[in-house]
Structure formats: structure tokens, C-alpha cells
Symmetry: C2
Subunit: 404 residues, 2 copies
Amino acid sequence: MFLSELIPVSDAKKTIYNCLKEPVIEEIDLENAFKRVNARKVHSNLNSPPFDRSAMDGYAILAENTFGHSANNPIQLKLVDSIRAGEKSKVELKNGEAIRIATGAPLPAGANAVVMEEYTCLDGNLLDVETAVFPGENVSSACEDFRKGDLVLDNGKLLNPPELSIVASAGFNQATVFKKPRIGVIITGSELVMPKNDLQGAEVINSNHFTLKSMVESCLAVPEMFHAVDDASLVKDMFTNLLKDYDALITTGGTAISKGDVVVDVAHEMGEVLIHGVSIRPGKPFAFAQIQGKPVFMLSGFPVAAMVQFDVFVRDALLKMQGLHVKPLKIQKKASKKMPSSLGRTDYVRAKIEGEMVHPLKIKGSGIIRSMVESDSYIIIPENQEGIFEGEDCVVLPYQSLKA
Amino acid sequence: MFLSELIPVSDAKKTIYNCLKEPVIEEIDLENAFKRVNARKVHSNLNSPPFDRSAMDGYAILAENTFGHSANNPIQLKLVDSIRAGEKSKVELKNGEAIRIATGAPLPAGANAVVMEEYTCLDGNLLDVETAVFPGENVSSACEDFRKGDLVLDNGKLLNPPELSIVASAGFNQATVFKKPRIGVIITGSELVMPKNDLQGAEVINSNHFTLKSMVESCLAVPEMFHAVDDASLVKDMFTNLLKDYDALITTGGTAISKGDVVVDVAHEMGEVLIHGVSIRPGKPFAFAQIQGKPVFMLSGFPVAAMVQFDVFVRDALLKMQGLHVKPLKIQKKASKKMPSSLGRTDYVRAKIEGEMVHPLKIKGSGIIRSMVESDSYIIIPENQEGIFEGEDCVVLPYQSLKA
């Protein structure tokens, strides 16, 4: 494939998503389910709250007893019992009586409101109530959150703190979730070495090892990292072995859009290369193949190109592979300067947000890691736009919004 | 303390932050440093890139040889060597010569540009170059990212993929980071039981166990979960034991703003209760103490109140305890309906963003977990505002932006 066949970003995404399989389901302890993806419709086993309960520390009373009363004209009630959280009163409250009640405790039979402790004065077993309360005041009614049988959580939802809370409250200590995809990541490049403080000859630090590992983790997937020298038969052996054990492969390096590049050639030999070259900047030499039914994402060796390709093409795919369909929050800001682009190409410009403005960073080249560290967002210049004028509104994708 | 002494949210935050200690530093493998906080200024050990290198697959040449040439008028050069990534050419390129070069490989001596393979035609050892290139074209210059000695990463930065990449590229396989705070979380309430599908008597599901554990984890801190019945001497024993082992405590329940509430009373006995009651809705009965020099956050027992209190008062504190000072991204949206509030009180209204609008959810009570599941953001009504009109711009804090 050659330059002339660059495909648009949207087509590339469609091709990738079409190749993804339905995720597998497993049952785990709710205790360990944070940031897992809920895989079934959760219908509650319980009413929540399970009973009418007090929302305050105070006294359970009959609201009608207090009507027309105030600090200047308190009503005196007779204290007949006390209920702590976790207890139920055996006493049925009668007209003219009060029962001391703790926050969260069940409202005793006969009562229909709670007066806050602050508006009362207790002397022995006589309680002055110095305010009027309405029926239901300071009471959380049974089932006001949900009822037994109600759908409380849909499938496909990420289990964040509120979702864990509702699953627990519905009576479940287990969660049915989608399995995390296991990703084999192959960093190719004979020149690459792990970090050290002196480089020999043509050695280059394998920084992609660290970025790709953490990017896969940031998608809630499980990476295993490998390194390959630029040798087709070694890369092929590695593909063969890893495709048995992993749900997808990601490679970096060897994707240049020319004949004879190691990784894409191996992919072509073993399966179907569906994408090679996308109209995007940075990150044009992105490739994607389906081999033995599994997706293989081939990213550039250049760090920044690889990061952008990951964010645009891989991130959503890894999330979808575990049943999560997210729409990152994009915002509108005003461009602090002009940015040229080409019709038909989508640009991801590293940028920094400042109030209502967004500043594109001045950077050439897709190897400039510093630009990723100093930026906090991408300005996206869509393919149907020839650029952005100074002061013009533009679409900004904060890196923050990419986090799962 | 009583209702009359409710303090503003900003004062409460100030009080809390003043009690936090400087975080402790440790050295870990860069391999495991994702989402840790960098604790030192990182100066590079290396130049990056370490040498002039090719940004493309193609041929290293002298740019001057190509001036004035094109597809119709190619210049013929003599191929004298080939350099793969990881290799250095021993040949010095002379006028009229070309050296085949792979992406990432060092530019050979004598060359000053790379022509892409696509614009050439090779026949034996004769190369036709069908375009003109300028000096430096398709070359990443040595040091264009950073130089040995440059400050490449400041302390206090979260180690995300780009930061890990730059630390590695600077030559380090270790990271100096702040220790993660260890948090003892005590869920109080005699009525609380772990999830099951039938509740007896006044039992209530301990959903806070799951929310608090995951919220602490979402702040990159390490929670250990405990449960206490409403008994002052048991709670006191637990405080005494846990304060030895943990960097901070969080409790839920027993904070009602009245006399005789278990947790706040214990805190008062053992240390200094600096906050009890904040002018916020939901979440008014928030308390904070310093005991044996350690921060103790006392949240409501009601799930939603506890979540809001956590997001407003605890989240930033746990991040600061590991050296991370973040400013969550707040955005502006138009309110889809009127929201009343009171002067002096800060409201956190659960809401859902839809395009340029934000919809406050209709919810009463601070126990309605479903409202947290169905919302994706808080509308913040600041204390100096009496409410928000329909169609008025308001400040929205997406939950997404709270993620570290």
C-alpha cells in the first residue's frame, strides 16, 4: 500500500470496530469489581431503603401533634422509647408520645415524622418540641431509592463508586463483569535498549516500553511487554506464539508506508492487513490487521505518533473489547493562534488549555516527547476543515477525558 | 457544635490542607511507576534524540545534489551502503552518493537529508531521486527533544504515559516518587451488614464499604476497610490502633450535628475537632479532626452525602498527601431549569450533561444512590449565589474530571 491510499480516520475506526469480538463474561467478588465493566442488567433483590427510616438524630413523633407550635409555644410530648440504628422499636407510638431515634434507624409504628434534636428540649421523660414539622419530615421513605425487582444498573456500565454502591444495596456481593482483555505488546527495533545513562553507537532508549504498557493499563486492559529486533522471522515466531495467548496484539515500529517494513509484512503474510496508512497527523503510518481472528494494531516507532495512534485507534477498541462504550468529553475553546491543516486529513494538535483559550504547542516532528508532557489536550482539526483561524472556536479533547 | 457554627466550604478546605504533612519519598522501578507522583526534578542524563536520525525509510543524501530535480528530471546517485535501525554506517557519504537508511537509524556522516523511498527508483546500485529535498528534510536532529542536563520533568507531576516516556528517555529506569498514603476507613453503624438478598429486622446494607474503598483507590491511595458498631469505646480502641498504622483515617456515620454522636465524640476526646458542620448541600454534617498529628475525616453515613463530602473535602487531601496538586477541569453549561439555593451555602447538585445544557436531577434526600449512578457531573452553586435561573450559565464539574 502506498501514500495514495491513505484512508480517513472515521473509516479506519469503523474497520477496526467491525473486527472486535463480543467480550467474555466472568463472576467476581464485588470487593474487587472497581473499574470493571458490568455485564448484566442488575435487578434489585431488595427495597432501598428497606424501611421508613430517620434522616436525622431526633425524635419520632406524630407530625399532627406539632401543628401550630413554635419556640414560644412548644408542645410537650411524653418520651416512651429510644431506637438506635440497627434496632427496631417494639413500642407503637401513640398520640402525644415521642420516641428518641438515631439517624438511619427504622421509624417506629405510629410515627410519621422526625423532629431534629436541635428543635427540642428534654427534661426527664418530657420532651418540648419547639417547631412544627410536616408528615414525612426528616424521614427517608422505604423504597424511595428503588424497589425489589427494579432495574438498578444496566450492562455496559463501568463500576465506579456509585455503581458499586447500588449493586451492593441491591443485595449482591458478586458482580458479573466482562473479562479484561489481555494484550501482547511487541516493541520492535534493533536499536532499542532499556534506560541507562550511557548509550553506545546507534542505541536508542526503548521509551515505548513504558508508554505502551501504561497506556494499555489506562484502558483497564492487561498488557504483557515484549521486545523484538527487526527480523521478520523472529517477529513472525513471536506473532504465532502470542496470538495463541492474547486477545489482541499491539506493535510499535516497522510500519512505514513503503515496501519491506518488517511488522506490516509479517502481518500481511499471516493474515489480512485491513489498514495501512491513515490520513492523520501525526501518526499517518498506522496499520491494522486481523490475524487468526484477532486484532493486531501496528503503531509507529516514534513515541508521539504512537501515543496519538493509540489514543485515536486503540483506546476505544480495548474498552469495547471489555464491553465499555465511552464517549470522551470534548469541549470548545478559542484557538490562541492559527493552525493550518489539509482538507481530508484529521490533525491532533498537542495543546494546552488556559481558561477559555487553547494554545497549540509549537512542535515539529513526532518524536518530541516533551510536547506530550507539556500539553494537556488535543485540538482536533477535522478532515473537512482546512485549518483553524486565530480566535476561532475549536474542538478540544482534554487528556483527562480519555481516562477510564 | 451546632448548626449556627456551620463554616463555609472554602474555610473547611483551608483548615484541612493546613493539617497535611509533607509526603515521604521512595525509589521504585520505572516499570511500576504508572500513576505515581514524581518527587524530584528530573534532569536528563542523555541527549534526545542521541544523534541525527532518519524520520523515514529512504536514502540519506546530500540535499544539494537534488536541487532543481523532479520526476521529469531525476538525479542519479550511487548507492554505497545501507543502514538499519540500531546500526551506524562506517562509510562517509560523498557528493553524488546515497546510503539506504531505515526510520530511526543514525544519519551517516556527510549526509544532511533523507529522501523518502517513494520518491526514488533503484536499479542495481544506481538510485534515481525524483524530487528535491531541503537540508534537514526527514531528519530528526540530535537534541531536538532535550539535551543532557535539561530539566525534563518537574516534581509533583503524575507519572502518566508521556511522563514515563520522558523519564525513560532521560536515561532512568527508576523513579523517585511520593509514597502512597495508607488510609484506614471505618464504616460505623450497628445496622450495617454485607450484601445479602434478605435483610432481617433493622439491617441495612453496608454500601459505604464499597464506595469508600473504591473512592480511596480512585485517589491513588491504599485503603484498608473496617466496620464498627455504634459503641464509643470500641470506636476509640479502633482509632487508637489504626492511628499507629495509617496516614489518615476516614469514617462514615456518627457525625450528626448534635450532642452524643459516637464518632465525633471520640475524635473530640482523643484530639482536636477542627470542623463539625459545613455550609454545603448535601453533606452538612462533615467533621474533621487532627488526632496524634494525623487527619481524620468524618463523613455522613448516608451514601450520597458521604460521596459528595469525599469529593469536596477528602479527594484533594489524599492527592496532596502524595504530592499531587490537581485542579479538576470545570466547564460552563446552561442550566435546563431553575435551581434554588441559599446565600452562604455551596450546593453540589447531581446533574447530567447533554450538549451545551446541563440537567439537574430531581432528587430529594442524601440517600438516593440512584441519583449518583444516573448523573455524570455536579453543578456547583457557589456560596455567594442564591441559585441559578433556567438558561443561566453554571459551573459544572464532570465526575470524569475528578479522576486521577
